[in-house]
Amino acid sequence: MKPTITGQPLARIDGHAKVTGAARYSAEVQISGVAYGVLVTSACARGRILAIETNDAEREPGVLAVITPKNALRLPDTKVPENDRVVQVLQDDRIVYSNQPVALVVAETLEGAMHAALLVKVHEEKEPATVRLDDEIKNAFEPEPQSASGKKSADQVRGDPARGLREAAMRIDETYQTPYETHNPLEPHATTAVWNGPDRLTVYDATQGVFGVRKKLAKMFALPTGNVRVLTKFVGGGFGCKGTPWSHVILAALAAKQVGRPVKLVLTRPQMFGMVGGRPLTRQRLSVGANKQGKLTALRHESVSTTSRFDDFLEPAASVSRHSYACENMATSHRLVRLDIATPTYMRAPGEATGGFALESAIDELAHALKMDPLALRLASYAETDPTEDKPFSSKSLRKCYAEGARRFGWAWNKRSPARADGMLVGVGMATSSYPAYFSKAEALARMLPDGTALVTSGAVDLGGGTYTVMSQVAADAIGLPMDRVRFDLGDSEMPEAPRSGGSQTAASCASAVLLAGRALRDKLVRMAVADAGSPLLGARPDEVLIENGRMTANGRTDSFADVVKRAGGAPVEERARAGPDEARKKWSLHSFGAQFVEVLVDPDLGHVRVKRLVGVFAGGRILNARLARSQLMGGMVWGIGMALHEETVYDEKIGRIMTRDLADYHVPAHADVQVIEPYFIEEEDVHVDPAGVKGIGEIGITGTAAAIANAVFNATGKRVRSLPITPDKLL
């Protein structure tokens, strides 16, 4: 049946709850007897806890416990599950980064816990430490493939890049740097842990994936997985930092067990700098060669990124070069450098955001060196098939994105725009966007109730992107019901398993499972009807039954879902389905693509850059809800503005501590930084990517943006900024 609701630009169904303040987030779940936990964190970047004075804190009225490595409950298992982050949970006296949890105060009230936490005195023995990439770059090492998302090997070579560079008519060989960044979703991380008996744990957590939290808690507390329940009905943004459970999640559960009370632990904004990850620093060398016509002859992309002393996280920055341009001679490599910092993690478009800045800047530099339209140069090396894997793309509409973007923007390659009457310099720039289309195993359960409404569940989360809404749309079509008779619920580890909401995979994975479960339920109800002596449809062939709005019609006779359920005894009729990638999917190279065009104004004296207009055209497979998808893309594009112009997590290199630990010093874009943002779609029919035909749009908006802005700044000023962010001082 042709979908009629899926694809409609409906308003979000959780909108009412959000605009009235009724939506309850993880810190707001009301649990009777809850106590408040506040973390105490380390000052130094590396060392040992010598002693912790807790007397003053313990004497405060209402303080239930001051938990330190000395008295903390021993966890039965301190190892984390595979592919999960190492945590610091008061099991030893080591300090491995600044702002690491070293104690936890639990008190009757939030103010009481906050005050007592400040009374805890930690004596640290400092050891030599460094957070400077240059100090440790000599020890850069090749990471294991599993450190990176996508699990690709760190190095790939094709053809003979050295020869390609030698034979090039024009070469660019430059180094680009992207800074540490911090996600800063507006909702702080929050965990409320409740023990129901000695071995049953319920946790309300601000997370991007309830199953990952369940797995880690079960492992570390040595509980059967089924004894841990994790819920999250609303999450106030994540962008990657809520993708894996961090120390505070374990500590909330530990504290709750230790004090015998439910414990709510909310991180302060300054505590969100470090212990919950961030984008690592990358330094990337790009060596690109082209012939006179602008056709690439060589592309070498070498990336170094930072990680902690105790855990590997690889920012796969060079991966973007593996599938972007047709080029015979290509080499990409990744190296990691260990520093005395907290482990970085995925941050919106890991790899593509950082790598795209370097690659798309270098391509622009090459175009300028060749005196060529940067768009024409990109088209000269347009990859019709994946250049590294020699596979066809499952779908690729980048050519259309370029053309549509150029048309909408009014792209004209005129080398240098004249300054405006007020002296402001004008510049235009463009870049390519891309992000892999991920698809993971997901399950959904569809249930028809005797009142003729359906409840569909899958344990995904809704970070604000619109999972509640689009899954309801998909389910309504799949079952054959109007929207108002379908309810989709999520965010509970007791529900069928869905992947964590990261890598722009929720729509693809979860929608595919919902689609299959919904269809299975519909088919089951039809089968029940035609075999039911009480049904007017008795004896009809299932394939001649038409379904609309919960009614089944065949040969002029009708029956309803509600009646089928009622006649069968009234118990809900349900079907469960699983979706996931199969062998056939491996034959394809699977990516979303896009093109971004930008106009900037630069104050030539004061160095201030304004993004006047940002136009992005994206092809991300099927769009389930254009209204919500546009919002996602706009948000991503504005993240690109932040990456280009504002965002940087700055360490004090002497003491190894992040000093931009709040929203006054860590600048996310504010209203005035945003002017005209125009996202557009090229719709694609892609039958290879996943059953729902969805590629995901959560991250592609930020890819390429920073390069497009940097390229426009170059166009305006003649200054090439290769180290983000482009702050006024870099343009003086």
């Binding site: 964190t41 380390s42 000052a43 600044s98 103010e111 906050m114 005050h115 400040l118 300054p270 004296d605 004061l606 160095g607 201030h608 304004r610 112009l645 504002h646 700055v650 360490y651 004090d652 290199e653 002497k654 003491i655 501590r657 000093m659 931009t660 630990r661 709040d662 006054a664 010093d665 600048h667 874009p669 504010a670 209203h671 005035a672 930084d673 702050t727 006024p728 001082d729 003086l732």
Partner: protein, 330 residues
């Protein structure tokens, strides 16, 4: 928060009496104090709430404006006489913070605003301002937001206020009342250089309460502008800012600066007025060339550090821009 006593002053005299007690702090709009008390950067034992005192009035007199200590930043910024007679002050206030902070923040509170130095706010680092003689991690640390003028070997924290920069440029005087009665302090003397005592920031004795600020409204004030350079388009502390005002004489072709007023923000450990630069401008034509020369003079003594060397040039350019805008007129 620590334990403290709390009292609401019903009169200025009562406030002064309470404020003169050991470890007392006045509470007005709360935007600074509540924040710093939560962090326990400030730990007063006695809070004297002055927010209900009758000090909100903004008066436009001949010759000047009187800003009540409890007039909110919003009220001052939107006051028609402030906009007409001292546009730089209105612009400075509107360039600072956000609407909801300006609704709460007061003139007196803004005068007494503490630095945004990240080390001052972070109990895990060393700070002479927070704990005298304990050391300063900022000196060799991340100094992008720090001062290049007026620093000492104890402290280089930048003064954060926009309002005070505009007031400093235009000869504002602060009226305070204390146990010894009332007195006036020139705004440029109100804030102290850190020198060897960065913990002492204000020329106030215990118990002295800001009553009002008087700003003479001169011809230069009427032709004044405020320019702020920051890392994003709004809602950020200044990298550099400049309040500038000019009184010009002569016709359109041969104009001459009769009087100039200049103060910089974001670069000094206090609002940085430069009489020297003002004198250098007097008698000169209002051209970029003379502005630049005055700026060179002002910044000659700058002591930049690793991360803020750019402020020297940026400050000069900002000053040239502010003076240029002032010369162009409102």
């Amino acid at each position: 928060m620590r334990h403290f006593t709390f009292e609401r002053a019903k009169s200025v005299d009562e406030a002064v009496k309470g404020g003169a007690q050991p470890e007392a702090a006045f509470l007005a709009g709360g935007t600074s104090l509540v924040d710093l008390m939560k962090l326990e950067v400030l730990t007063p034992l006695r809070i004297v709430d002055v927010s209900r005192l009758d000090l909100q009035k903004i008066e436009a007199r001949t010759g000047g404006l009187v800003l009540g200590a409890l007039a909110t930043n919003t009220d001052v910024a939107l006051h028609p006489e402030v906009r007409r007679r001292l546009p730089a002050l209105a612009e400075a206030l509107l360039s600072g913070a956000s609407p909801q902070l300006r609704n709460a923040a007061t003139v007196g509170g803004n005068l007494l605003q503490r630095t945004r130095c990240a080390y001052f706010r972070d109990l895990a680092t060393l700070c002479n301002k927070r704990t005298p003689r304990s050391g300063c991690d900022a000196l060799e640390g991340w100094t992008r937001m720090h001062a290049i003028l007026g620093g000492s070997n104890q402290c280089i924290a930048a003064h954060p206020s926009d309002m005070c920069v505009a007031l400093a440029a235009f000869d504002a005087r602060v009226k305070v009342r204390g146990p010894q009665g009332e007195r006036e302090i020139a705004l440029t003397d109100f804030h102290l250089l850190p020198e060897q005592h960065p913990d002492r920031e204000f020329a106030l004795s215990p118990g002295e309460l800001v009553i009002s600020v008087f700003v003479p409204t001169t011809a230069a004030a009427a032709r004044s502008r405020y320019v702020k350079v920051r890392d994003r388009a709004s809602y950020a502390f200044a990298l550099v800012s400049c309040a500038a005002g000019l009184e010009l004489s002569g016709g359109t072709s041969g104009r001459i600066i009769r009087e100039a007023r200049v103060a910089l923000g974001g670069v000094g450990t206090k609002p940085w007025r430069s009489i020297e630069a003002e004198r250098a401008l007097a008698g000169q034509p209002p051209t970029k060339d003379s502005f630049r020369k005055a700026a060179e003079l002002l910044l000659a003594g700058a002591q930049p550090r690793r991360d803020n060397a750019f402020k020297v040039e940026l400050a000069k350019r900002t000053m040239v821009r502010a003076l240029t805008l002032a010369a162009e007129g409102a």
